[in-house]
Symmetry: C2
Subunit: 502 residues, 2 copies
């Protein structure tokens, strides 16, 4: 052996999750890196090292093979393993006269940053013990094991293809599975070529906005509505025009009146369970909306984000299912059905728009994650997603009823609400006091989060409403959360009652 | 039993991958859906059905529990299972007078589509037997099993958190792991707060472009360079100014001259192994570039897409490692180290830019996929990524040498090239004929893909160069591909030789 005798210091941890051969290789590589083993030094034979460490000889052979593959050691003519003369991980080269310490990242930019449009999209991620989540499913119910299995199977069977560059429209297998689901449940005779896969509905909206809007174009949105959608349109340079929403949904006549005065590029709405009020756009207004859009060439961006969660009576088919004029851009997502973290959404629209969406997707994101797309396609094909939907729909229905009971029991006369036929939340009016923001603050201090209605207002003014999401709390949690709401409710007083905004 | 006797038609397929209890439940659900089993009908007892099917009784119990959870059956007071009166999957409701067939998606839009900027980003995805991939790693070498294991572990241990909404900056665990890697290998003393995770370098570039560029701003790019980066700047509304590249890399004096004439918002470059020519920006030019940028407040967007793949001598530290003025925006990716399909990239920059990137990310994409981010963080933490890099670096180096040998052997006098010290491709000049596009076409017909040099030219003019990526072909495949290149090479003739572009 070259140089002075070398003391082995391989501390093996069995059951650590790291295979033993990698532990041996890592330990030897460390010794080489630190100079305890120098270039040219001969390593002990595999048989001897195996005996010393009390492991199978094959384990040491595997360790040496790994070290050789990584370039730490070489096998010489006499089949002895020696530390390589040129080590892997060559030290990078500085340039210029800079020496010494690594550079920290400067705190300020050396260039000017132009202002961004105000996106009002701060994405509050509530951290409380009990969260009346505004649109989040109960992730405790997600079929995690099935998902992990499907992902592993995808990688094992088609790993090489699924880790590669891919088409920006999404994996054909997933497009087919989504098209089949839409045909079966939403009255849309869509084929795989009629949709593109996106990363959740947010990327769908951002791409659609960028494809439709020329800066300065007018886009109509719901006066009380979904803030991140507004951010997507604002980012594309749109001017936004708020339209009223009432018990029948979006005020379509207001859209028509607006479009008579000035060109409207697009209207964005959530017609099935309006976000955040949960009202359904009435049949009369649906037909009228399509008529106005056709006459004025307005794109109707239909965000059907939680179609499946309908409990009483029948869900209403989307606007897209009766659109003969090609005015509807249909946006859907699996974020509510499965999980937001998976980021699988889609857009159904005429081919010329889809082609632009694909080109834009390619430019901002290249493509999706084909392995995840393949795994989700498998879960759709084998019915796992549909079974999951049936199971959670029943659970959410019971939670909805539990929330209605609890609110009536613990906050009598304090809130006015309709029990929603669908969706995942109540839109409840505070009767005794308009100070819902104060209530939200006190509730948060008591470990309960809910969204005050004003968060959804176009002009940001306070609204005397609470949005109470019930999907992600169990019935027991709902009862506890409502008790805490009751404890923290605004005092009922003359002055408060008099100042209610109507 | 209510109604006429019901014939069981459960065809069990063992080893089909679908658990037997789900097969039984699915079969009964089908019978209910088709009306063979009507509302109120009593199902056989679990013991009897188990005997009929020859399965364990617990399997039938599990099947009935699934049917109950999905809402197909109910258990009555006498503990008999009956088909539910209200079935799951309520039929959706049409609105208006529409009846009959599902609507097909119209072929045309009923609204006007504004023109998109010309992105020149068609993303050719070569489909050939032997692909000299321009920047793709060999996906046959990816540690697929380790990745699948890490993903499953992430979901199992932290599934609920990792499937939820998350911060747009990326998972803290991954940001820490990336920062540690950058500190260890690239002379960047970055902490987790100094970077944001993106979906590959493409989203990084799109976000940076959107954050820096006001429409009409001038952005300088390499005259021969990376097309998708140009697309990202064009999409943000930038005017692009091409700068020459020579054997020392980007012509920094040309940038200075341009910036003296007119404000330049940013310069985009690939200084380590220039894409596509593989030249390294010289130390003198590096220092001069930082000086020019600091003096003129130009953002330097450093795309270090394949830092690890350096074979001879020492890799050069990034510009970011000596940037005291906060002018460098450092963009990196794991697409080349691991796999493009994972879409993990990052940006290191001063905090004010990072804050804007996070807000933009939130608006176009909400967030990343936390489970994938967690799995990749684990692979970084336990050294799997670093081991993989060492292994493939040696393999790629041998492939590089094999390609040099094959080109000298089979195409003597036909090509002029330097063997690149790093990167994953050769930039070879065709000596006998400038018609590289014709050569590419003939090669493709013979099953070999390579990128003609003109594809990377700012003005799209043909260039007498071939980019020959060697990373994703084995040595044997390289030999075969070069033989086919030789068979399809341009004829050597006087007229051809005379028309060489210099």
């Amino acid at each position: 052996m070259a140089g002075r005798p070398w003391e082995l210091a391989v501390a093996l941890e069995r059951g650590s999750g790291t295979p033993v051969f990698l532990q041996i290789a890592g330990s030897l590589a460390d010794d080489i890196r630190r100079g305890r083993l120098r270039p040219g030094a001969v390593l002990p034979g595999t048989r001897r090292l195996a005996a010393t460490l009390g492991v199978n000889r094959n384990t040491v052979v595997a360790a040496y093979e790994e070290l050789q593959a990584e370039g730490w050691i070489e096998t010489d003519a006499a089949r002895a393993s020696r530390v390589s003369s040129a080590l892997p991980d060559p030290r990078p080269q500085r340039f210029g006269g800079e020496v010494g310490r690594r550079a920290a990242v400067p705190a300020r930019t050396g260039y000017d940053l132009p202002p961004l449009p105000d996106l009002h999209n701060d994405g509050v991620r509530p951290d409380a013990e009990l969260v009346f989540g505004s649109g989040v499913p109960d992730l405790r119910l997600v079929p995690v094991a099935a998902l992990a299995r499907a992902y592993r199977r995808a990688l094992r069977q088609r790993g090489r293809t699924l880790l590669d560059y891919a088409a920006p429209e999404g994996l054909p297998r997933l497009r087919s599975a989504l098209a089949a689901m839409l045909a079966a449940t939403r009255g849309l005779a869509a084929g795989p070529g009629d949709l593109v896969v996106t990363r959740g509905s947010q990327m769908a909206l951002a791409l659609v906005a960028r494809a439709l809007v020329t800066p300065g174009d007018l886009v109509a949105v719901e006066e009380v509505g979904y803030v991140p959608a507004r951010a997507a349109f604002a980012l594309a340079g749109a001017r936004l025009a708020p339209l009223p929403v009432d018990a029948q949904g979006l005020d379509v006549e207001a859209l028509d009146a607006l479009a008579r005065r000035t060109p409207v590029r697009a209207v964005y709405l959530t017609p099935h369970h309006h976000y955040p009020t949960t009202v359904t756009l009435s049949p009369g207004r649906r037909l009228r909306l399509l008529e106005v859009a056709r006459a004025r060439r307005i794109a109707v961006i239909e965000d059907d984000y939680d179609h499946e969660f309908h409990y009483d009576g029948h869900p209403v088919l989307p606007l897209a299912s009766v659109d003969r004029a090609g005015v509807v851009v249909y946006v859907g997502t699996l974020s509510k059905i499965l999980a937001p973290g998976l980021r699988v959404g889609y857009v159904v629209a005429p081919a010329p728009l889809l082609a632009r969406l694909a080109q834009l997707r390619s430019t901002i994101d290249t493509q999706g994650d084909p392995a995840i797309e393949d795994a989700v396609a498998e879960l759709l094909e084998d019915g796992e997603v549909q079974r999951h939907v049936r199971r959670v729909r029943r659970i959410y229905r019971d939670r909805r009823d539990a929330l209605a009971d609890a609110l009536r029991r613990d906050l009598p006369g304090q809130l006015s609400f309709d029990v929603p036929a669908g969706g995942v939340a109540f839109w409840a009016r505070s009767l005794s006091s308009p100070d819902v923001i104060g209530w939200a603050r006190r509730a948060l201090a008591a470990g309960v989060f809910f969204s005050p209605g004003g968060w959804f207002a176009f002009d940001g003014r306070p609204l005397p409403y609470l949005r109470l999401g019930f999907a992600c709390l169990t019935e027991r949690e709902i009862a506890e959360a409502v008790r805490r709401l009751a404890r923290t409710r605004p005092p009922v007083g003359r002055s408060a009652a008099a100042s209610v905004i109507s």
